[in-house]
Symmetry: C2
Subunit: 552 residues, 2 copies
Amino acid sequence: MKLLALVSLFAAVYSPVAALWPQPRTINTGNNTLRLAPNFQIIVSGHGVPSDVQAAVGRTQSYLAKDKLARLVVGRGASDAKSFAQAKTLSKLTVSLEKGAAWKPITSEAQKAPADRDEAYHLTVPADGSAATLTANSTLGLLRGLTTFGQLWYAYDGTTYAIETPVTIEDSPAYPYRGFMLDTARNFFPVADIKRTLDAMSWVKLNQFHWHVVDSQSFPLEIPGFTDLAAKGAYSSSQVYSPSDVQDIVAYAGARGIDVMVEIDTPGHTAIIAEAHPDFVACPGATPWGTYANEPPAGQLRLANSTVTNYIADLFTAASELFPSTLFSTGGDELNTACYDIDEPTQAALNATGSTLEQALDQFTQVTHKALEVKGKTPAVWEEMVLVHNVTISKESPVLVWISSENVKAVAEKGFKIIHAASDYFYLDCGHGAWVGDFPTGNSWCDPFKSWQLSYSFNPTANLTTDEAALILGGQHLLWAEQSGPENLDDTIWPRAASSAELFWTGPGGNISTALPRLHDVSYRFRTRGVKTISLQPEWCALRPGACDLTA
Amino acid sequence: MKLLALVSLFAAVYSPVAALWPQPRTINTGNNTLRLAPNFQIIVSGHGVPSDVQAAVGRTQSYLAKDKLARLVVGRGASDAKSFAQAKTLSKLTVSLEKGAAWKPITSEAQKAPADRDEAYHLTVPADGSAATLTANSTLGLLRGLTTFGQLWYAYDGTTYAIETPVTIEDSPAYPYRGFMLDTARNFFPVADIKRTLDAMSWVKLNQFHWHVVDSQSFPLEIPGFTDLAAKGAYSSSQVYSPSDVQDIVAYAGARGIDVMVEIDTPGHTAIIAEAHPDFVACPGATPWGTYANEPPAGQLRLANSTVTNYIADLFTAASELFPSTLFSTGGDELNTACYDIDEPTQAALNATGSTLEQALDQFTQVTHKALEVKGKTPAVWEEMVLVHNVTISKESPVLVWISSENVKAVAEKGFKIIHAASDYFYLDCGHGAWVGDFPTGNSWCDPFKSWQLSYSFNPTANLTTDEAALILGGQHLLWAEQSGPENLDDTIWPRAASSAELFWTGPGGNISTALPRLHDVSYRFRTRGVKTISLQPEWCALRPGACDLTA
């Protein structure tokens, strides 16, 4: 029955239930139109309903009232007027937990470890006017169901209506980690931009905000006890995330079913720490920067230096208290050995202790990871930590594969859990020319542009054995911000990042032709909610599904 | 003396007079700081000063008060505080026409034929507190000078100040046509977006808005007497430019020194006309569209059909009355002969008259161009009209070279005036993946992305003889809107299009390393004025000119 439903779904090439994104894993639809009653209500049944559940219901009601998304067909729904004039009216959606489940805040459900998150839900919308029902085992599942319910509706001439009812949906994600990464260090993003991004993430059921908050260029995070880093390393005093900003962002994310994994990238990508602690950084500002770092300025944390190691361990401890997530990324990418080669204190320390750089890196990693593990955190790392360096890393640590999707297999063979973040599929910044100066014919290192079609077509388990495939936690799009800021945030991310949201929720194998009309709907609905998505095609094409296909 | 000034300019690699864009053709600067008096005033001396000149003065005053652009250096101007505390104060800029010149509106000066536009000006800003002076032979020149004056100022801690004063500038453009083209047919742009773009254009002294207003996908222009085209061919009734919208846009542009060249692309790119006049269009909606058109939907105006030819001639006549410009683009690109081959009425008409398709095209062009010439207009055409087709075109007609910059030479050899618009340098839409559906590995046809560095490095007279070089009117960036809309308009255009603004004002040969810090200033200043420019680099780099150069 599940299989049948899926088959019928993909057979209906341009299903008018176009606005569902990600596509539910099982859906059955009918051929009736249903109107939303002007006095439509969402009723949560149960005692002790958490406030973030009530807030999610309120947002859903608000979107139903304000979206006013016209169908993307010629006439924008005029042809539906006759059928909805005679349609039954839906007055109520009842929302409840399944028997035995206890009311807990969405936030706490979202902040569980990926494997423990329960996002499944069951949604039924009858066509006869009787109440719709949404049930789940967790408030996080209810949130996902409310999100789906909110995507069923179009508006025309003052009427809000759904087509293809009755609708029955049984849904849960294919992968537990479905993320988006934002770099707020190359250029700064105000809190409001991050919140708007979290809203948009929640609309496509993304559940993980990976916050690459600091880097060699700026340190905009104010960490209690370590405030000199931001005071001296932020671009300005107004370009800082205070502890209350972080609390605000974490709470905002949690209420939307999103966990926040912060990243304090070490020991590379740390040149800016020299502004506050010159003694902690090897080869600070060394030139030519291209020899000593992947980006200017050069400079990375000294190894074989217990003062530095303990400082970072303490920094991690303090930072971890700002973020309730079980995950904490310690980075570990792009370590530059030439920088250490020319750094006399590092060389002296290595000689004094008789250790190699790799041994010193292992020591640094063990101490700093231990500090997090003591706080109940699972460190996440970039792929080099297990592929380039032979560092002691817990097998519980997710490894983010970024350099190339071809490296996934090697990480899996080592038995690590994997988060797909490959530049060849998921980097949103590629293809916009060189940002490095004095480089007239330069393009971005990860050319070309990664289209939504490319990431949508990604196979998360390509070349993996069954056991290796079980190591895949999910994946994410990423925005490195060398050429981004608040000005182009929305249109750089959306709707492209929705493609991985569906890939990792619905599972791979989606058809880009059937996806495109739904993705247009995502894009147009996002705009009604204030997120400035790009146009994927001329509006002429958006209104005529399939007409602009290559072979049409 | 002029040469010396230019040499000294390029020698001063990271001149703090960073915010001037385009770089004046002759500039002399000193080493003093100058403060702007709180009661600073711009005084226009003369009688009968046109209202658009007064408005330009008002805008300049407003920008001086509101820009509050901090210098792009570490500390954002803190290090200037000592020098401006002791600086002289400028209280007045006197603006006047040179002897013998008469006050005429900026608008009428801007709407002259390119060769007749006088944009030269002379600006002196003494360092001793005595009045600054701006003179020109035309109000259009005064506008350009006011724009330059407005770029001299930074703000820090409540003080507005200029560095490197005294400043003496003698300036005029290298090329008379410096444009930007926007396609409003693939996706629609509200009037407010066009006005904001016109403002931005004026800030970098662009003087030509090339408005590709209609195309095969939609017809958003309401032309008196031909209103059925928009009524049936616009995406919706709210996505239409009414005659009063056009008047508003043309006036807004004119007051900012910008002429509006409308384009009604014919005989290709006209499928949408079939919505109102099915009999006028050959092969409407023919599939596969790829055989009959470069983009869906197929369909182009019938040739060898006097009804259609006269209709378009009358349409041009009516449209020309909406646009005071001397220029009017009739298009002429991408004519598809396969479409005519399968169109029985066209074939019957060709057989009946015994003419070839080329002869019919020539006839169509002559009649429709004649209608414009009668109205005092000079038709502009895309390159195919003179390179692919052997059509009778006046040598006064500017030819826009778009397919490749390699085609410039061939057009010049035929003796036509040329507007640079080559896709390999100036297309802003390239490199964002395929918009055509069902094309998973597709990229844009004009990949890769055209960086600002690339267009800035363009040589407008490459391979041309001196006589041929004299045919170059100038050039422009272009935004085809298949993947653009209001949401990404600003960041797709800016600051990239500023690179051609400087190229065609200052002339070729600019250095991208010295340009970059100034372009950052353009970008940051645009943002203070509400235009959402992209970040060219991490802010760390923007604050440290040269530090992120490839070889730094």
